[in-house]
Subunit: 213 residues, 2 copies
């Protein structure tokens, strides 16, 4: 496997390769980074809330939220590179020989397997974004109100990343023959997606209301 290590490289280098005519990084990897940005902004709100006398009543809750956000953010940073790796495997599978019937069958099986693995990565990105949105929504109600605009940015970015991740699952599912696999993944993502969308919208409107009032 081609080991990718974009997260330890520079922002400028990553963005350059994202724009280039290289098969990866693409939308799935970019979604993981955008999700990490939303997650980091929610963490910033939590970090400006914990340890302050004024917010002592919610200290335990904010500590719990912060700990979960940190675990998710670490995962999202890894997913920036995992998406590049699995996409590279999909490309390699499509390049397998297809002269004989045996080769054709082996190639089809390799594509099926690679696409299943490749679909699982943006699914995990979507799940990380769903949790980030839920935790940011909690912070909207109990976090330091001086950082209300960062709560708004957190949900907007995590929700956009969630949409991008879903699109990248969908595009991988197109190539998968296994109908049960496809259906399970579609249904799980769409149900969670509706909830996240509603929560993100509600939170965003609370933030805008707070700033403009």
């Amino acid at each position: 496997m081609n080991m990718s290590d974009y997260r330890h490289g520079s922002i400028e280098a990553y963005v350059r390769d994202l724009a280039a005519n290289l098969p990866a990084p693409g939308g799935g990897s970019g979604a993981a980074l955008a999700g990490a940005l939303g997650n980091a902004l929610a963490s910033m709100v939590a970090n400006f809330t914990v340890g302050k006398e004024k917010f002592a009543a919610v200290e335990a809750d904010v500590q719990r939220i912060l700990a979960e956000l940190e675990t998710i953010r670490k995962r999202l940073l890894e997913l920036i590179d995992e998406d590049v790796q699995v996409y590279t495997q999909v490309s390699a599978a499509y390049k397998l020989p297809r002269e004989t019937d045996e080769e054709k069958a082996a190639r089809s099986a390799a594509i099926e397997e690679a696409c299943k693995t490749a679909a699982a990565v943006p699914r995990t990105i979507a799940e990380c974004c769903d949790r980030t949105i839920a935790l940011a929504a909690e912070l909207c109600d109990i976090g330091n109100p001086n950082l209300i605009s960062d709560v708004g940015c957190a949900v907007r970015l995590a929700e956009a990343a969630r949409h991008c991740a879903w699109l990248n699952v969908a595009i991988n599912l197109v190539s998968i023959e296994d109908e049960a696999f496809r259906r399970e993944m579609q249904e799980a993502l769409e149900e969670a997606g509706r909830k996240s969308h509603e929560l993100a919208e509600t939170t965003w409107h609370k933030v805008v209301q707070h700033i403009l009032s």
Copy 2:
């Protein structure tokens, strides 16, 4: 001025500082990076379209789109750091002494000036995202359809970044006394925002239709 150079530093370091209890980077800077990700994905689509026999009929248009995207992306990367710099100036202005009447007046004038400068940065980020959305919408119709999911990610991320930038303008305007300045900026942003939102939604739905059909 505190010179910031996050764009040449690692993704991991930037995301760590975004999450930390540091006054900056915050939502405005994160919006610039998210906008750059959307912009880079639109550029990827253009880069997989130019120079190909199959798309010769649109070569000149895609070259024009690509050139403008590259100019905007360079600007968005700079804005990651510019937002940190202007936010640092706002913090410094609030920390000025306010014992005597002269000090109070000087502090108020410094805050007004710093907030005007600080509002201009996310305004520029919003404008860069508006153009990115318009160019990605063009690519949705004429770009290489193999990269249709990247067009979708491009508009989603640029639109979320646009929303975040707008929120960061709004939060700076709250502290500005100059009503004419406030009104001009609000009106310009809201008018452009409505157009970008419509265009992003239309483009996103075209992409989803294309993938699911």
